[in-house]
């Protein structure tokens, strides 16, 4: 898909996220907005998926290890055609297929794994990649992790085994927004040097601006080229990206906007979209 078309989708998805979380009265806007661009490129450009046949055998798998940002995933799936976007507004409501954290037992098409308990998704994605390798199949597996999530030991166990098994069909993306619930990553639990950590675990490491659709596309292409190791894309992002009063504020990790804040956020996104349209028309 053309970069301009992809960028266009990200505005719709950001507005979906705000509306969904506001309607739910709870949820995680900060991380949903930081991961929006990567997830949009994954589903609309990078992955071999078919919403008309969500379980097709040669599909690529996606695991949202930071399950709390599922509003972004649900919005992407709906806009990609897996289900009617009208259902988005049921997020977190009793009986909804759109659980507060993804649960595959609720029958939402396109969901591949139940996640939300941090640290487990990279192992699950590794299992998907391993199954494809065992059978000599072309399926690839993708996994978005939070940077705060990297505190979990399970992530590094998964990093070790994916490199050991040379799972070159596995691509992890770290949504590196630098904030977790209690504050700045480096205050809560020191993580740097992040690039070197992954490198020393035997991964093909790619660092990009996680809000540049072009850089995201190029990173996925680079990851495909690597044939002897799993790849990780460290996507430098801004928590709350797109809504100025949410940007880089840890407090917006898990709080829903009220009616007034929702209005302001949507107005700002509309305005920014207009500016983007004008700029990209030139």
């Amino acid at each position: 898909m053309e970069i301009k078309e992809l960028e266009k989708k990200t505005w719709t998805i950001r507005k979906d996220i705000i509306k969904m979380i506001a309607a739910a009265g709870s949820g995680h806007p900060g991380g949903s907005l930081s991961a929006t661009d990567v997830m949009t490129v994954l589903y609309f450009d990078e992955m071999n998926v078919d919403p008309a046949s969500p379980k097709k055998e040669d599909r690529d798998y996606f695991v949202l290890s930071k399950g709390h940002v599922c509003p972004a995933l649900y919005a992407v799936l709906a806009r990609r055609g897996y289900f009617d976007p009208a259902e988005l507004i049921t997020l977190r409501k009793l009986g909804s297929r759109l659980q507060g954290h993804p649960g595959i037992n609720k029958g939402l098409p396109g969901l591949e794994a139940s996640t939300g308990s941090l640290g487990q998704g990279l192992s699950i994605a590794g299992g998907f990649a391993m199954a494809a390798k065992l059978d000599g199949k072309p399926n690839r597996a993708y996994c978005i992790l939070g940077d705060g999530e990297l505190d979990e030991g399970n992530v590094w166990e998964a990093a070790m085994s994916a490199a050991h098994y040379k799972l070159s069909n596995l691509c992890a993306i770290v949504d590196n927004n630098g904030l977790q619930i209690d504050g700045a990553l480096e205050d809560v639990m020191g993580l740097n040097p992040l690039f070197e950590k992954w490198k020393s675990f035997g991964w093909n490491v790619i660092e990009i601006d996680g809000h540049s659709v072009q850089e995201i596309k190029e990173a996925f292409a680079k990851a495909r080229e690597c044939k002897d190791a799993p790849s990780v894309i460290i996507a430098k992002t801004v928590k709350g990206k797109g809504v100025s009063f949410m940007e880089n504020v840890a407090g917006w990790h898990g709080v829903a906007p009220n009616e007034e804040q929702e209005k302001a956020a949507l107005a700002e996104l509309d305005e920014k979209e207009k500016q983007w349209e004008a700029a990209s028309a030139k």
Partner: protein, 324 residues
Amino acid sequence: MKKTELPKIDFEKPELESTREGYAQGLIKAGENNPDVVALGGDITSSTKVSLFKEKFPDRFMSMGIAEQNMAATACGLALAGKVPFFSTYGVFASGRCWEQIRTSICYGEANVKIGGAHGGVSVGPDGATHQALEEVAIMRCIPNMQVLVPCDVHETEKATLWAAENKGPVYIRFGRDAMPIITDEKTPFDFGKIAKYKEGTDVSIIACGPLVFDSLKAAFQLEKEGISAAVYNLSTIKPMDVEGVLEASKTGAVVTAEEAQVMGGMGSAVAESLVKTNPVPMEFVGVQDRFGESGEARELMHVFNVTYKDVFAAAKKVLARKK
């Protein structure tokens, strides 16, 4: 309920074999029947006997190192991609170290993962408390969608393993380290989800699992000598609970449960949870009584921790005193 016919057992010198051998043989048969069966090992593959599967199917064995959380969640991914993964390590770690991966990644989404928990019980012996798994039944059966099996001997372990491979959903199979008496044979039926009657009796019912089935039969024959008629049942499927079968088994009016595990939350608790609603008869619980294990020889420890035929015998007498 019809009594299951068993081969003749020599209670003084029974034939012995470890249940982990049965796990390996079941796993190999499952591997022969289905190319999607794969095994993941947590470094101690010769101890769990999964090394035998590895020799036979080297391409379908994944060494996962000493990293149970990753092993469990990787198995989840393999299962969701259509494989039938068995992951195995000592029960303490298989059930405990990755409990939450089993709960959330595996059981919540009903991933078709099979867990082989080796070294169950104090009969693990000299390794001591750290390696003697006693809590697996309690912490596995409380997770929705999980099925829990504690087979009684090497043959039943093989059948239970094969059953797990051929049926959908998460399964935890508990087996032991030490050679344990053989009481069934290749022909003995394994009826998943059903309690099996191994001895008739009218005064008291002994419901056992794992190696305690042998001890319960031995105790029952000694009770006969004192004029007490004790029925013995093998409850190798602890979850799902055979509510009807356990109710029928309780009709003697007194029940003893016997297991080589913590009684708190274990098989006996599961039986009590069921009977308290259907037929609340007096009960006694043979098992480990809220203690950690320790080093020693297997049989020695079973005596010290009161999980032998003598304890079943004493429990039967105790419960009969309470029977109305």
